[in-house]
Symmetry: C2
Subunit: 217 residues, 2 copies
Amino acid sequence: MRLVVARCSVDYSGRLDAHLPLATRLLIVKSDGSLSIHSESGFKPLNWMSPPCVLSEAPGVWRVTNKGGEQLVISLEEVLHDTSHELGIDPGLVKDGVEAHLQVLLAERCHVLGEDMALVRREYPTDIGPVDLLCRDAEGYVAVEIKRRGEIDGVEQLTRYLSRLALDPDVQPVRGILAAQQIAPQAKVLAQARGIGVCVLDYDELRGLEGTTPTLF
Amino acid sequence: MRLVVARCSVDYSGRLDAHLPLATRLLIVKSDGSLSIHSESGFKPLNWMSPPCVLSEAPGVWRVTNKGGEQLVISLEEVLHDTSHELGIDPGLVKDGVEAHLQVLLAERCHVLGEDMALVRREYPTDIGPVDLLCRDAEGYVAVEIKRRGEIDGVEQLTRYLSRLALDPDVQPVRGILAAQQIAPQAKVLAQARGIGVCVLDYDELRGLEGTTPTLF
DNA sequence: TACTTAATTTCGGAG
DNA sequence: CTCCGAAGTTAAGTA
């Protein structure tokens, strides 16, 4: 990995056209061929080229190109810093608490959706894709769409599943519940208009940690 | 901006929990209080804290917290590089060719949607938000939803607009067209099922550059 | 401030 | 390879 601090201007042309006026910035050149340009604020680069790409270095001008025909031209006015570092491969990030995890937890505790709610199966198949959970209670079957944040998209998605499930003789009658850690106001309104239930999930409750003291640092 | 190369492990807890095993990485500390952690590959950070956040530096341990209760703990085994640089404020990125631009261009050349298509107005208001373009031809009015990439969301969005426009006596009859540079297969199917037309936009044609030689470098 | 929508979204997984 | 949906999405515009 090479770190360069330089006064530069940048022109990108590819999926769109973009330009960065002359200013002092950080250029990161990684060994996978990616290049990114950072300013003093924000954790996202101002501009970048995704790997794999090729850096051609001439005095005062770097030209980065990739297979897709994208091009980045960096005009260097003054180089203030230029160092290289060997980082080696990275074991990568381990995540916990994403949507897939919510699905596992809710499958184990679907009674949070209703007193007598029982799991039929996870990833119940339809011809337009699998429903996150299929449950049932005294009133019939329940298709559950799980989201970290329930928005209009989630309601639309569940609506499409329900329209398919309505044709499935094995699961009649069937209704829908959108289960999410947060639910957007518009999503709530649209769900209600369509007779879809909503359920706000509590992550700690799902993990069985209700009432326990959170870890403090 | 401070650049640190160090062998470190990282624990994040906040919107989810995540962990980075011990490895050599680049840490970028920016003056807006953001911190990001980069590996040797990819232009996105492995982990980060968005500004504003506070870095508390103890020997061998950095602790970064923000108002939302998110926390990043970095255990430093060995610091290989540590420099600081003054970058100053950045004039920022100038973009050309995004959706707003497509709307301007298509408004000027809406005949690409049909021989006798004429623009009524851009951003035609409904009570659930403005339609990108309202046009008309011999058959009646046409609501146009413009996307860089047309996906199911776009079809749903246009459907919602059409359901409102159907109640607007000023624009009867009205049909819909999804116009995008690319259109996903699912979106095409759903659009057809709803009687919504699709139109693939050619950026060069919209700019009036059809047939001209692209600039080469 | 809250909410909505675009994004050079990026990224990963399934078919 | 394409296609599809999630993301600590992020970021920008608007009410």
